[in-house]
Amino acid sequence: LNEQQLIQGCIRNDEQCQRLLFERFAGKMLTVCLRYSVDNMEAEDILQESFVKVYRNLSQFKFEGSFEGWVRRIVVNTALKHCQKKKIRFDEIKPETTQGGSIEPSAYTHLGENDLMQLINQLPEGYKIVFNLHIIEGYSHEEIAEMLHIKDSTSRSQLVKARRYLQNEILKLQKTVAV
């Protein structure tokens, strides 16, 4: 089944197609959910809610862009709603952890996806969301500001600090491995 047939099957409420659609996208979308959630259980809750929304609103998909992008957008929005329920705090990280310049690519190229996920999950809630939205999802600072009801400048500063924090953590990790 190609993507279009799969979508049309889902619109017809064909459970087989719905299951196939889930199997095709759930893995990637779970990664998205994990990046925004505190733990696996919350990520699964977000995934469940997102897919229910996808099935209910599939008829609104116009076949004009990437279907995966459409699903991802729903997942991100659902994850953000979950985060907003918890009231995101844009905490400040201690100054020493955000200092330091950029690091060389050799310092992080060996990192795997799970390592990166772990590092991102260590970030404070506000930093994590801005970092995910801008770097991975590709939203502009203006869009992030609108989505999170914050200023553009807050989004920018949170991103810079998040990036510095991650780079410092990578350097620390590298030193630990070297020892």
Binding site: E23, G27, K28, L30, P105, M117, I136
Partner: protein
């Protein structure tokens, strides 16, 4: 540049990263996807039934009251022109008395339904005003009455003359003051016309016709069916009857206290239970007691929604899986193989329960209104609220932090709650905006304090609610605009 490289690296690594489809989530989605989304608050049959019940009882009440009003108004419609004339004559009466200082009062015998009436005020008023002419007036009066009796007898209406009943009537003053020299017959004719539409104020024994007086005994004469009622001294009385229906988004203030040294339990309860939403709705009948005071009574439904979330870290779950396989080795030789497998999962368990506390009450509220009813008026309300029944669904934690279902059975555990929380105190301020002659919109911020906790007496924990909210509703006047004031 290195930042850009770092960003690209992270994006390339994570954007398409697949964590593997969790198929157990699919089972949850399958169960959830076909469930209809919840509506505003009518997602339960009970709410629909409750609202339908309120609507039907309101309609029945309205129709029964409106029919009663129609029959009353039909009677009053016959009376109303008389009332109006009475008013006009009463307003004329006072200046007439002052003008008749020099004129002789000529009480007039008038005929109405085989009755002759004479105004008492004419005699008393003029007697006060003309102390010196008292005897002359009395003589004139006697003469006039005799003359009129004679004229009635001459006209052959003997039975009428014999059954004359004597009354004093204010009309006599009007007649006498307008022309003291006019003939008594013309006066009496005018008075007869007037008296037909007039209202008797009181009877005073009159010595002119002994027979008539003897005949006039309470019960001897049948009262006319449409006899107009006496006007009150204080003028027309308000007689409004309203039906009010409202909905209120509420906010609850919960107080939780323990009798013993279980502060940590209270802290844990407060940490795990969150207030979510609450609302109330109701219908009530409002009757005015005085010009500005009203009494409100009706039925009120309140629902408080809370969430209990218990997080158990390092929780272990043991799952037993029994697989039965059928092996057919040859015809007639079938083997059933049972494999039993256990697997243990450990992790953090989140247990969420949505608690709903429902109360049905009867409020009895006294209200004082002020302001301009034509534009916007206000009211201050207060009174007791009597709980009829309280019912609960959900769970609360006991002292060992285990969730227990809330029950109305008697006991002293944290989950033993009252089925009737008794009396509460209600206070509010209302703002009414008139939409038309019968309909008002109102907003009523209120506070209600329940005197008793929801937990049972003797329970080590006392859980009490104070409800605040903003009732928004419609007031409908069941009395039509023309009949709101009664004499």
């Amino acid at each position: 540049m290195t930042d850009k490289l770092f960003d690209d690296f992270v994006k390339s690594k994570l954007e398409q990263h697949d964590s593997g489809a969790p198929m157990h989530v699919w089972e949850r989605i399958k169960a959830d996807k076909d469930r209809k989304p919840k509506g505003f608050f009518l997602w339960r049959k009970t709410y629909s039934l409750l609202l339908a019940g309120l609507f039907i009882s309101g309609s029945v009440l309205y129709f029964s009251l409106s029919q009663k009003n129609t029959s009353v108004s039909a009677n009053e419609a016959n009376v109303s022109p008389i009332k109006n004339e009475t008013n006009q004559q009463q307003t004329k009466k006072q200046p007439t008395i002052s003008e008749t200082n020099t004129t002789a009062s000529v009480p007039t015998i008038t005929e109405t339904n085989n009755e002759a009436t004479i105004s008492p005020t004419s005699v008393s008023a003029t007697s006060n005003l003309h102390q010196s002419d008292k005897k002359n007036d009395a003589g004139n009066l006697k003469q006039k009455i005799k003359k009129h009796s004679a004229s009635i007898s001459q006209s052959g209406n003997t039975s009428l003359a014999s059954n004359i009943k004597v009354k004093y009537h204010p009309v006599a003053i009007l007649s006498s003051s307008s022309s003291s020299s006019a003939s008594s017959s013309s006066l009496s004719n005018k008075a007869v016309d007037d008296i037909k539409n007039e209202q008797t104020i009181s009877f005073v024994p009159f010595t002119l016709n002994r027979k008539a007086l003897d005949a006039f005994k309470i019960g001897a004469v049948a009262m006319p069916q449409n006899k107009p009622s006496c006007p009150t001294i204080n003028g027309p009385r308000r007689r409004d009857l309203y039906l009010e229906t409202y909905f209120s988004p509420d906010y609850n203030v919960r107080s939780l206290s323990t009798s013993g040294t279980l502060n940590s339990y209270v802290v844990e309860r407060n940490a795990t239970e969150n207030y979510r939403t609450s609302f109330s709705a109701g219908i009530r009948v409002v009757k005015n007691l005085g010009e500005k005071t009203l009494l409100k009574g009706g039925i009120n439904y309140t629902q408080i929604n809370e969430r209990l979330r218990i997080i158990t870290e390092n929780s272990k779950q043991l799952t037993q899986i029994i697989t039965i396989r059928t092996v057919v080795r040859s015809p007639g030789d079938t083997l059933f193989v049972r494999d039993t497998m256990f697997y243990e999962q450990s992790g953090t368990r989140y247990r969420t329960t949505y608690n709903r506390f429902r109360f049905i009450d009867v409020p009895l509220i006294f209200s004082y209104e002020f302001g301009n009813p034509e534009l916007m008026h206000f009211a201050v309300n207060a009174g007791p609220v009597f709980n009829i029944v309280s019912f609960y669904s959900g769970e609360v934690m006991d002292t060992t932090y285990r969730p227990l279902p809330i029950s109305t059975k008697s006991g002293s555990n944290a989950n033993n709650w009252r089925s009737n929380i008794g009396m509460g105190v209600f206070a509010s301020v209302s703002i009414y905006k008139k939409l038309n002659e019968r309909i008002h919109l109102f907003g009523e911020p209120y506070v209600r304090y329940n005197l008793n906790p929801v937990t049972q007496q003797g329970n080590f924990v006392k859980q009490r609610y104070m409800v605040t909210g903003m009732q928004l509703g419609i007031r409908y006047n069941l009395i039509p605009p023309g009949q709101r004031y009664k004499r």
